[in-house]
């Protein structure tokens, strides 16, 4: 999508307005940094915290990577099976439907018992968060492969489940897998703070935010970390879109836009 130069920067206007409003309200109306630190104070905090910030981001990304990688590795084969075969779907779906509504945070005690205070415990919570969106979207993709495409494959010599999945179902479902992964990334990231809250490591964005800054009521630091949490997620999403969706799915253009 190409926008005229004027529209391209339009998003900056409300953003700056909100930031100014924040700065002004915090500084001249509320006048209580515990209640709402000023934007400038928050930015300054990010600068002050730069030495712990980078390792914290890396540790959080480690937890995120463990959870997301595991979720993808488990959800994808399951989704292929469920989408391709009605009987596998019928066998597994009830279990999925029972587990799915359980909030990821409810798994924290289990994670502690199973993995103790390790990175894997945090990874497990993120896994629970990311798993279901990846599974459900991917499964839908594999289920909805048009019959005519499968039959076209058959007539052209694509016989047997393995070949049909590889040459027809998988490429067809790939955009759904990507959508699910993107949603799963979002949910997984939201679980990062909670996953680190109970002290699986002595660093990490969530750990620092909750165990250190909040306990000391350093609200400017808390808000600084909140902003960083948002920004990292934004970057992850943009990277994913840039490297996966835009590159791989040129052919989808005609269908969705």
């Amino acid at each position: 999508m190409k926008l005229p130069a004027k529209e391209k920067w339009l998003w900056l206007v409300p953003l700056i307005a909100v930031l100014l409003l924040w700065e002004f309200t915090a500084g001249y109306v509320i006048k209580n940094p515990l209640f709402l630190p000023r934007f400038s104070a928050v930015i300054f905090s990010i600068y002050v915290l730069r030495e712990v910030l980078i390792p914290d981001i890396l540790v959080s990304l480690l937890h995120f990577g463990i959870g997301l990688g595991l979720a993808f590795a488990v959800a994808l084969p399951l989704a292929i099976g469920m989408g391709w075969s009605k009987s596998i779907f019928k066998a597994i779906d009830p279990i999925i439907e029972i587990l799915r509504p359980i909030p990821p945070l409810a798994w924290i005690p289990i994670a502690m018992i199973w993995f103790h205070l390790t990175h894997y415990a945090a990874g497990f919570i993120i896994f629970i968060g990311a798993f279901f969106p990846i599974l459900i979207d991917s499964y839908t993709g594999f289920r909805d492969v048009p019959k005519v495409l499968v039959e076209t494959g058959k007539v052209l010599g694509c016989i047997g489940d393995k070949k049909q999945i590889k040459y027809v179902a998988f490429p067809y479902a790939l955009p759904s897998v990507a959508t699910g992964t993107r949603v799963g990334m979002g949910v997984g990231w939201m679980c990062v703070v909670a996953a680190e809250m109970f002290g699986v490591s002595d660093s990490g964005l969530g750990f620092r935010l909750f165990q250190k800054f909040y306990f000391l009521h350093q609200m400017d630091y808390v808000v600084a970390y909140m902003l960083v949490l948002g920004l990292v997620a934004l970057c992850l999403d943009r990277l994913f879109r840039h490297f996966v969706e835009d590159k791989l799915f040129k052919w989808k253009k005609g269908i969705v836009k």
């Binding site: 495409l149 076209t152 058959k154 007539v155 052209l156 010599g157 016989i159 067809y172 052919w251 253009k253």
Partner: protein
């Protein structure tokens, strides 16, 4: 006995929710090598079902389908099929679509490209190799489907109303191209249509089917020399004969030949 294809008393009933439904009843027909046979009949008389069974995508409830002396058991790339609906793989470019059957067969990269290119030229799509299906018109899509069906060099081509969804002008052009390809490649062609004009212009012989349950009413040889003129007297006469037969059928119960 050197029939290319032989149907012996082929009957098909579908099990639907309302019970058994007869789709085809006692179809027997022989097709000679390199013959161009058109199958014509009202909508819902089982033309697609018949073609799908010859392709091996469905099985007769009783009766036999013999191709090259062997009973048809399942799909195989020695029968090319062009479906009634659009069936291009949307994630593959024109070239990659045409290469599909060869890729499954394990033909090497370079040879594959050369063969595909040959058929792309045959259907007049050179220059569009790297376009995705969404960038093509309906007529172009069907041309790609034809090229793709031809690329594995099947000895028989099954075409299910391939030009049903293109305008009359394009349709005429595609018909001429198809005849050209047929002449050059000496394939046996089974061509389903519900257009009388199309049948008379294309076929060596036309098989007329009656409405549900579909059965073969009559096979007529079209002994009009090629190239035919759409407006010539003999073509018109034959068209009249065919139209009369069809309207007669509509008002009469099914009788076997």
């Amino acid at each position: 006995m050197n029939h290319k294809l032989e149907l012996r008393n082929v009957t098909k009933t579908f099990n639907t929710e309302e019970g058994e439904m007869g789709a085809l009843e006692g179809i027997s027909i022989e097709v000679k090598p390199a013959e161009f046979l058109c199958i014509i009949g009202p909508s819902g008389c089982g033309k697609t079902t018949l073609l799908r069974m010859i392709a091996g995508l469905d099985h007769p409830s009783s009766g036999e389908i013999i191709l090259d002396g062997k009973e048809v058991k399942g799909p195989s790339p020695d029968r090319g099929m062009v479906f009634q609906e659009f069936s291009l793989f949307p994630w593959r470019t024109v070239l990659k679509n045409v290469e599909f059957g060869l890729e499954i067969k394990g033909v090497g990269d370079k040879a594959r490209g050369e063969i595909a290119e040959k058929y792309i030229e045959l259907v007049g799509l050179q220059g569009f190799e790297n376009h995705y299906p969404y960038e093509l018109s309906g007529g172009m899509k069907q041309r790609v489907a034809i090229a793709r069906a031809l690329a594995t060099e099947p000895s028989i081509l099954l075409m299910d109303e391939p030009f049903g969804s293109v305008d009359a002008q394009t349709r005429n052009i595609l018909q001429e191209e198809l005849l050209e390809i047929w002449k050059r490649t000496k394939k046996t062609v089974l061509f389903v249509t519900h257009s009388v004009d199309e049948a008379v212009y294309l076929a060596d012989r036309v098989a007329v089917m009656s409405a549900r349950p579909g059965c073969l009413v009559k096979c007529l040889d079209i002994n009009i020399p090629r190239p035919r003129k759409r407006t010539s007297l003999e073509v018109n006469e034959f068209r009249g004969k065919l139209l009369m037969l069809l309207s007669l059928e509509r008002s009469k119960a099914c009788i076997s030949v």
